[in-house]
Symmetry: C2
Subunit: 422 residues, 2 copies
């Protein structure tokens, strides 16, 4: 067995043992550990920042691009943000052990469902060192053991953070294997982790599309992920036009490089030409490149500033100041476009009609479906989950932003008084 | 492209289109289709029985074993059972569209979760032709399209049943591709179905362990399954001994070849020798071969009738009149044994202690955990789900018996009044 295989296997075994022990931990135990980790981070702030400076220096030397360097850099506010995040998780309700739907069967059996941790989570991510603390905090609070595999550009920072977590767990008398960082930057470690189906229950990748595609392709373990955020905003014929204008601007221009930004605007064919003209002009004025279908272009006064959208545009997540625009025949046409070209992330309708709302909500097959709200709200904090470990656009288990509850599942609990099956 | 690849691809595309149309169907539409299918089955009873006779004759000629022949044979009561099953599904509540946990955020957004179909289900099964009708009925009612791949020994029966379903769907004005049977017995079709990740959202295998292992290994799509049912009954030191005796007998001898039968009995070390002796004698008297650990054997009057259990016994699902028995030091020892050797299916404790119950319920990591009840109750009908499409021992999505709700998931729905993100 190769050294790296041996190392990851050992980590997996230790994680499994920690996950079994974690089922015994009370909410107080878990909160105490989180508090200890907070203290360790505060105490080690200088050490963490020095480690981060080393990573930044090395990444700069390697010629890492500015956006990645920005994600990598912590600063004092970054450390404070991590502490705040953990304190927030301490305040969240522990989902583990909650029993729901307890009903009495005719034979007297009481049957319900109890929330239970998943077991061992494998977290594979890039750049942002705050993921190390967020993931550790959420997994700890939900009673799961976690194996962290951060980006190689962030290894020294992650080692400093991981050391704080270890000291915190030990100070709280908990098994330090609850949270383990893979210490090597050897790329083979990812492959080993993805094959560890005996010990790992769920893989969560966070990062660029190529990372997530690789993980989804190679994993022998369930993966919770989203690949694309091709989010749509559809303006129905009866929309409040002032509201529609504001939502268009917010969904597209509030932040460009985020997965819940609008990438395609769908317009009902009977919307006034003046509305379409003003909305697209405002976008262009804000620096957005607009690519529209022929039908939309025919409504514009200055059609020269809007290029014709290609087939490729409907399936592109720009993550930047570009927007595709399509005119639809009706609600059904808009829904069909979203279900065909979308990415099951977040899609919204602007309408005053109850019936159009109900049809849109029911038939659009996305993890978040909205009416009269900006797609930018698709986020664990905005939804009141307290925190999110990721967003899922898959069909099973948790869909949309995933918080503590998505890190658990439900088992059946049956309370009898000696019932036997006849 | 090979012919079989082309055929399965076509079925997948049609299923996907049907699944999109299915989101539009009302509960009344779906129930009407189920009623039409019932009428078609009743009318075609003779045809179905003739088809079944052909399958039985062919299987007999091929030398199929008696148990498989028994599973294959329908008889008039089999057809009546299928009709009854469908009528039962008509009476079940439609989970699709139900919204829960709708709460108001500080900014006025109303956020909740809506139940939604999964999309396209691939069902791969052996022998029992009733699975064809059960799966079709459950998928139809939950708004999912389904692709059925039954055993080759059952193909003529399945074709007759599938024809009834098709006629019923058409009579109800619904897309006949909601339910499609793979008409060829070519084994390559299974491989093609397992690779159809663009069109199929979930694979459910039902049958022998080798079938399920193959599906789990080869699928590029999430699989809902259980491999083994190594169910435990643990008798705690304070158990009501009369109740414990009855539960032991029921969990082991009620039916042998089922996944929720007890395979290992765990006994607290301080249970009276007379109780152990009587319980094991009763089992032996009922025809059960008992294999026990040394500590258990030392409590018996006629130790000669009980052979020593091997390490292999703790991980074996006998599916027959054999039982392994182990004496445990305490509750923790029993829980550790179950979590280590069990199959996450169904495990039960017999105790009068509230604290032991709570510890057992929380720490045993199985899809069904019981107190003072026979493991034989782990079943969708017994749990009040109305029907079950299978049992899952995996950690994500639905665990335990899976009914209509397990064939759906939840998406976020957000109702705003023009909120934008600041």
């Amino acid at each position: 067995m190769k050294q790296i295989e041996q190392t990851v296997l050992e980590i997996g075994k230790n994680a499994k043992a920690a996950a079994i022990a974690a089922r015994r931990a009370s909410t107080a135990d878990k909160n105490r550990a989180l508090e200890k980790i907070v203290l360790e981070i505060i105490e080690a702030t200088d050490e963490i920042l020095s480690a981060n400076a080393l990573d930044i220096a090395h990444a700069t030397e390697q010629g890492l691009d500015a956006a990645s360097l920005d994600r990598l850099a912590l600063g004092a506010s970054g450390v404070a943000g991590m502490v705040e995040g953990l304190q927030h998780i301490i305040g969240l309700q522990d989902p583990v052990g909650a029993v729901k739907d307890l009903t009495v069967r005719p034979n007297g059996l009481n049957i319900g469902k109890m929330r239970t941790p998943l077991g061992v989570i494998g977290m594979i991510y890039e750049s942002r060192p705050n993921v190390t603390i967020d993931a550790a905090g959420l997994c700890l609070k939900s009673g799961n053991a976690v194996i962290l595999r951060g980006g190689s550009e962030c290894i020294v920072t992650n080692q400093a953070l991981s050391a704080c977590i270890q000291r915190g767990l030990i100070a709280a008398d908990l098994n330090p294997h609850w949270v383990q960082l893979i210490q090597t930057t050897d790329r083979a470690a990812v492959g080993e982790l993805l094959a560890l189906d005996t010990y790992v229950d769920l893989i969560i990748p966070r990062g660029g599309k190529s990372l997530i595609e690789r993980v989804a392709r190679d994993a022998r373990i369930p993966v919770l992920k989203h690949l694309d955020g091709i989010c749509h905003l559809y303006i129905h014929e009866d929309a409040n036009l002032e509201m529609a204008h504001a939502l268009i601007m917010n969904a597209k221009t509030h932040r460009y490089a985020v997965c819940n930004a609008m990438e395609t605007l769908l317009l009902h064919k009977d919307l006034p030409a003046s509305f379409v003209d003003e909305a697209l002009s405002a976008l262009i004025h804000a620096g957005v490149e607009v690519r529209a279908c022929e039908r939309t272009r025919s409504k514009l006064t200055d059609v020269g500033s809007v290029q014709l959208a290609s087939a490729e545009d409907w399936v592109t997540e720009y993550l930047g100041p570009i927007l595709s625009v399509k005119t639809c025949a009706d609600l059904d046409d808009a829904i069909a476009h979203i279900n065909h070209y979308g990415s099951n992330h977040t899609d919204a309708i602007v309408t005053e009609s109850l019936q159009a709302t109900q049809t849109f909500m029911r038939e659009v097959d996305s993890s978040s479906v909205m009416v009269n709200a900006s797609t930018r709200f698709a986020d664990g904090f905005e939804y009141g989950l307290g925190a999110e470990i990721g967003i899922s656009t898959d069909k099973l288990h948790a869909r949309g932003p995933v918080g503590l509850e998505g890190l658990t599942s439900e088992k059946y609990v049956v309370y009898g008084t000696g019932q036997i099956r006849a």
